[in-house]
Symmetry: C2
Subunit: 67 residues, 2 copies
């Protein structure tokens, strides 16, 4: 199991958290996504380490940016 | 046709706007809902004037408050 943490900017409410969680959860191997709205911290547990670009694409699909 | 304007607090993003729009749109007789995120202004066009309490309930159902 791999745990990675990214910082996402632009999230302002619980809907934003839900959108990011949903998109990141769709990445292959992702087991759990924890988003801290106050800090923008997104912690991802996955069966194998994720490529930064894949995470970036998912976050951007949700409408936000990696810091 | 009746046009009424309310101020809603707590909306921070487009998802919030969508939630308020959806709930208010479900009120009987509502024809159009326009939400200005920056000001919190919600303008409602309806076939007959809406009761303030009905609008308040819809806004609260969405998770926000009337000012």
């Amino acid at each position: 199991m791999s745990t990675q943490t990214f910082t996402v900017t632009g999230m302002t409410c619980g809907h934003c958290v839900a959108s990011v969680t949903e998109e990141v959860s769709e990445l292959e191997g992702v087991q759990n996504v924890d988003v801290d709205l106050a800090t923008g911290s997104v912690t991802i547990e996955s069966t194998t380490p994720l490529e930064d670009d894949a995470v970036r694409a998912a976050v951007e699909e949700a409408g936000y940016q990696l810091a």
